[in-house]
Symmetry: C4
Subunit: 237 residues, 4 copies
């Protein structure tokens, strides 16, 4: 048995979608969050093009992991559904995924540049640069755009590090972030946007800024996430 | 008969004007929205220089399409009335028009540059670069400034694409956006401001950024707007 | 007799000071507004260093125009009192003055650059570039800093144009704006900050941007302010 | 006896932590404030990783100045505790300390640059440039990261000027600010963020901007802070 019921997950996914507005990550309907129940074989995701004010836990769409069909729900799932499914399939550790068009992360995606790890704010959450993917090829766009977006993301991820760098920007598109739950994925999406903003300003002050050394990256990432983590109230948070 | 009554349109135009503040597109009274009832031969538009807190559906001004005179209302219509009328006349598909001085769109207008289609956020709504018009000539300014502003906008629009790129920036002035209704025009004005902002940041990160390929532009625009659109809950939204 | 009572003016000055927060022009107590009653020979101004939440109409300080002494009130007037008095003395048309440290206007002041008239937003309110003053000389700082700040501002103003360009930035310091009333001065301070922001972004997009031609400046300024003004509901607003 | 009871200090430290959100200095839990009672030999500080909405005066952690152990409280103190303790030890005048990851101050830290005193907003609170520290050496990171962060900060401070320039940015990390109380430290942290923002924009307008002369720095700092201060309602504020 999963440790959360499908109804609890439904509520978590809805809450995480609502938090996109609260954290100023979205304009209109430009974002979606999903959560997964691997044992039941389903993903829950925001319906396509519905404004946040009309969302409820009930209208989160349940999608089969097997074939991407709607398992439960009256509405069409997010148009990005195939991207989410591909990421869940490739990376068994991921339990929640977020896609937004948050302003500064999109700017890095449009510029086609990795977001360098310029400081400890970045290192606290992302254990290295946040990659910008390659652009999709025309054939990839034509044949199965959303699925291939997922595949291109996966190309740029070191499987052993997927949870250590829980986000990416897709070239000419925007950010995806993930985590150990829908809420944790949103948390990482907020950080991604903020470090994208800080990195832009950093380069404006000093265009020659170089990334932090591995030692500082280790220290900050591991004091929050390693087996000897000592940040927060619990041992491993 | 039109499918909305004049009172419904009056309410829509008022609501759309109020939304300019809600979406942070205006300082003071620096923006106006109009709507049109082509069968009745009238346009409804914000009164000139009145603050949003004093607006009501009742004080939207009804202007004759024939000669621009006030058909109904105690107040003077927006000083930009002749620009709106010219656009409605030139482009029969337009059902609502917005003019604002939103910050980032104005910056592109002042810089005299088209806003390139740098990514999918842009492509989702604008099927190509958002043009910056030429400046008005002195004679055009002197003779009929607001009318000629409309004419100069029309010069830069491909008639077959007017609804595919539903906005423009007027050189040294600011943005105009339009749509299938007053609310849809405001929606497009919000997107125009946001993509103007993203494009500025994109160039700051990488001054050599080039626009997206036609293939990605097609994919994103058409998944939302083409006859095979699959974004959102209805077939064609 | 003045057309507003001293109690009305007291209320207007208090309200205008409160509006500095509402319009996001101030951090902490970094701004002050004054109003003048030339017939009664007094200026009313914010008390020094008092937070906006503690302000009331009652604690606006009444200062004598003759010698700058406190004519009525228990509190010390703003430390910038001598600057305000100097401007009122030099320019009889000014009826209200605002000083803030609003972010973008300060940036232009610190950069030591005039804010060019890059577009119609600027031209609607400021009939030409907004000057940046020279820096004060050491002797001017030592002998009578606030008074000399007023004198240096006055140096940069064409007397016949004082109401046509109702603001300035003092080098290495920040903006002053004025108007036909305390509220009108705040209005102009809001515009000054917004055009300062737009001008920064404009240069970031196109560093070679040049100011608008006199013809467009005339058109926009005069359609709002000239004797043939046609913006707004009244003839001359 | 101290002039505030330990319960009063507890409340002050809690209130100052809450103000970090109010002044938009923090994302999530990325900031902490402490206060000190030197006579009782304790520091009070935010618990580690607890969100501001869950904070109360009661869960501020009391830490012994002698050995850094928890003197009172159920929770673990901020992971930055050793940095705070080192600064209190080195600088007896400091009564409150703030650490945040406020966006613009972090950008200067990441860029590795001192924040120049470009204008009077800076000079009103910081009597010279705000230093950016050197980076920590690998050995310093490995052996006692937080303690050595405090030591590196102390290296860059002229002891006689610690209260005259009440803040610093730690290279590749972010800002620390301090003051005569927890609330005053937060006040200085707000100013540090705002002058960091203004300085960035200043350089964007004019990359050749130079710092203000000593004379203007003296005038503004001393009119607020010197023994002849005349800003505000009391003689020395």
């Amino acid at each position: 048995m999963s440790d959360v019921s499908i109804e609890q997950l439904r509520h978590q996914v809805w809450q995480a979608n609502m938090d996109l507005e609260r954290y100023h990550l979205v304009t209109f309907t430009w974002g979606n969050v999903s959560g997964i129940d691997r044992e039941r074989g389903v993903m829950l995701i925001k319906p396509s093009g519905v404004s946040y004010s009309e969302l409820s836990a009930e209208n989160m769409v349940e999608v089969s992991l097997e074939d991407g069909s709607v398992a439960d729900g009256q509405m069409k799932p997010s148009s990005d559904t195939a991207t989410h499914l591909e990421l869940y399939q490739q990376f068994p550790e991921i339990q929640g995924i977020v896609h937004t068009h948050s302003t500064h992360a999109v700017a890095w995606a449009q510029a086609g540049m990795d977001i360098p790890a310029f400081g400890t704010t970045h290192a606290d959450y992302f254990y290295g640069p946040i990659a910008c993917t390659r652009a999709l090829k025309q054939q990839e766009i034509d044949e199965a755009y959303e699925l291939n977006t997922g595949k291109v993301i996966a190309e740029h991820i070191d499987k052993s590090q997927v949870m250590a760098i829980p986000g990416i920007v897709v070239k000419e598109h925007g950010p995806f972030a993930w985590g150990t739950s829908p809420a944790n994925a949103v948390h990482n999406a907020v950080v991604l946007e903020e470090v994208a903003r800080m990195a832009l300003y950093t380069l404006q002050i000093n265009a020659a800024t170089t990334p932090v050394n591995q030692g500082l990256l280790d220290k900050h990432y591991l004091r929050k996430h390693g087996k000897n983590a000592y940040y927060g109230q619990s041992t491993n948070k």
